[in-house]
Amino acid sequence: MAAPMTLLLIVAVTIRAVLYRSGVADLVSERVEVVSPLTAWKRVVEGLALLDLGVSPYSGDVFHETPLIIYLFHFLVDYAEITFMLADVITAVALYMAVKDYNKQVFRKQKYALEADRYPLDCLELIRSPGEMYYIPLKVYPSCSTCGLNNAVIALFILSTVKGNMLLSAIFLSLATYQSIYPLTLSAAALLYLMQVSPATFWWFVAQYAFMYLGSLLVLVGLSFFLLGFWDYLPSVYGFILSVPDLTPNIGLFWDFFAEMFEHFRLFFLCVFQINVFFYTLPLSIKLKEHPVFLIFMQLAVISIFKSYPTVGDISLYLAFLPVWSHLHRFLRNIFLVSCVLLACSALFPVLWHLWIYAGSANSNFYYAITLLFNVAQILLVSDYFYAFLRREHHLSYGLYLKRKDGSEATLVLK
């Protein structure tokens, strides 16, 4: 599998380099669907300029990335394009290796279950065959944003979790959380997976993991303070993510809603929206405790839909996982509607932006409507995959053709 992967990587890197050199890069780096106030490259350059002048890069409301990023780019600013390409390549390779490992484990479990005769006879068609198991993630987009680095860290976290390495998993998770707070929800999935791999007493395990995680987080925060010299990056980065003061339009749900909010209710709705991101962790973990990798996929999707400043980079991370669940296609009910709506929304985003900002014939409601539709389609996609996954698990335990007690055909309903 290494040869097609390398070939695909080379092709992807070439396409990306060509696109970057052409005029497309300038156009795309301005689009609000691709860059957000958190990840825009122009803001990183601005922060670097301020740092060179000796002023804190967080003064003025321009720069909202973490100090480690700014120090990384302090040395790499001339090679920014290569850095982003490298980050994407790391993401692709890490996801590929993680999925390969995961597939091997799924195979093993399936073989044992077949030998132990745990599957009813009529669901042999549901068993996955080696032919379907290839997966090569493909992400090519010439955006100039630090989203690529975030994705690389999350991909490395997934790789280290799947390989069963607790220390590395905790370290990468703390790095991802340090960048943007939301990957914290992935810790539940990591714990569930690592407990499956190396069973131990629950609380001791959690304590170990939490210790490693908090320790590395403290190290990162301390390192930032040491490099920067003052604490004002905490409100600028984390305060910015949590309190959403910048209402630039993006493909998320926050901006137009908070643009029309009265000050009196702002804190309340802010809490409601932010809790929404973290809220699904507990129920999903309880339901999917046997399947932590699917839980990771669901959590990534929930994060990239409900976070405060999403971009298409976040979406591409969880969409890269979809080929892993290609065996669920026969149970998906809404895939046609969802793909039509996603396609139409992606085409309508630039059209309505043009009509709003340049032609002046539309207003922000048009663009927010398309944002809402896009997010609804994403939620429908994720819940459809969830339904398909659970249905397949049900069939594996209870047989493919369900019959009620009196012998008539039954249907499954997801409550």
Binding site: A347, V351, S361
Partner: protein, 551 residues
Amino acid sequence: MGLLSDPNRRRALIGLLTRLNAPIWGMPVDWLVKTMQSRGLEVFTQRFSRRLPFPDEDKERYMVKGTNVYGILRAPRAPRTEALVLSAPCTAGDHNNQAVGLLLGLAQYFRNQVYWAKDIIFLVNEHDLIGMQAWLEGYHHTNTTGMDWSPLQGRGGSIQAALSLELSSDVVTSLDLVLEGLNGQLPNLDLANLFYAFCQKIGVLCTTQGKLQRNDWDSVSGYSHAVQTMMLMAMKQASGRPWGDHGLFLRYHIEAATIKGINSFRQYKTDATTVGRLLEGMYRKLNNLLERLHQSYFFYLMSSLSHFVSIGYYMPAFGLLGVILLLRALDLWVQLASPPPRTEDGVVDADPGVLSVLTPLVISHLTGAALYTLPIHFQEMAVEHFPVSETEAVVLTAIAVYTAGLALPHNTNRLLTGQGTEQGWKVLKLVAVLYLAVLLGCTALINFSLGFILALTLVPVAAFVTPNVPKVLSAFVLVVLSPACTLLFSVFFFQELQEMPVSFLDGWMLYLSVISQGILDHALYGSLVYPLVALLVYPCWLLFWNILFWK
């Protein structure tokens, strides 16, 4: 108390108009500068030059060099943050020889009033749209079309509204209001209503699309008159070209309209004085605006100056056409998702390879790219080998590439060694139908008339074409409803609507000039019709042509 109550001013205006009646070679820049300065305006000039990609045979120009002259009347008391523009294109010949005189007369009158709260910019642009594009780009510090212009030395504030004058005679019988701008953009309906209300108050006859209003809306002839007016507006909007100098202002979010004076064989004539009073009234109203015009509709189709159809009424019609495509897509999806029927000897259709669907897509888009780039790039080679002029070479190359695309399915089938399968054409049709639906939806949002006309001709064909329909008849129908033939019929239809029907040969020449103007508009002003049709609509139509000849 009005513009020409003073006999001295009346004499000065008549003198100006008489002087401008004589043919002008180029624009009298120095004289204009001197005259505007003597009226107390701050005068500036802007030079521009542009080489067209190929000669423009309608207006007979290729290397265009010119100068815009504009004078700014500063508002006496208010802070200078906003401006209004009054422009008159000045060309050689007597096409628009009275407008500049009226403009200068108005400038003198406006100078003596104290109620102006916005700066008024009196612009005389040379080479109509090209000069206007240069001035607007200079004013807004953008350069989207690659023109060469000198920077503007003086500016007003942000422009709130603009009017462009076209007067060819010193007395008019009616004033025509032209609203359609670049890419089918229209000014706010409030501007049109304002002008019409003022015309009625002053007692000047006002028309739209050159057609007078009728009062009998209930009769069949009255209704058909309204429908004809609306169809004229739709066709002008669909062409995507600016139908007056105002068309280029709309892109910068400036409400603008063109006022054309028409002198027909009517007894009651209005003289320049009344037109001047009308314009003065318009400018006083625009002066009193506290915010940009945005309250009324931006998307409408006018069937007369007092009746219009808004987007809420015409969009559902388009939506229903789109639903046809979506239902066909759903039907194909359901057919594809159900398992294929097994034939008698147990042979099942193989899964269509991605290649068999991807190849027509790639080839169609390459043909579209060829249609977009080849005509202009190969004009030198074509001129060397064939006895045609550059413009004819460009147009004929475009038609040749278009027709060559029709031969593609045979070549594609020869290229693909394997047989296409039953599933294959269904997948391709699903992709093509969804592609067409999204494309038409986006087009209708930006330029409704273009989207609607394309939908009317392409949707029925797209929904019904399969490899199993009778080939000759459906091939004929598909070609007749393709974008190029739609354009040909539209040219004849447009002439019919304007009550100037043309013979077939004249219509064909007009069609060729329409194609060349479309390509020029794209190169000069950034009109989107030509790239849209060449790069997106034509490949989509080619996909359906491929499906028809699927083996």
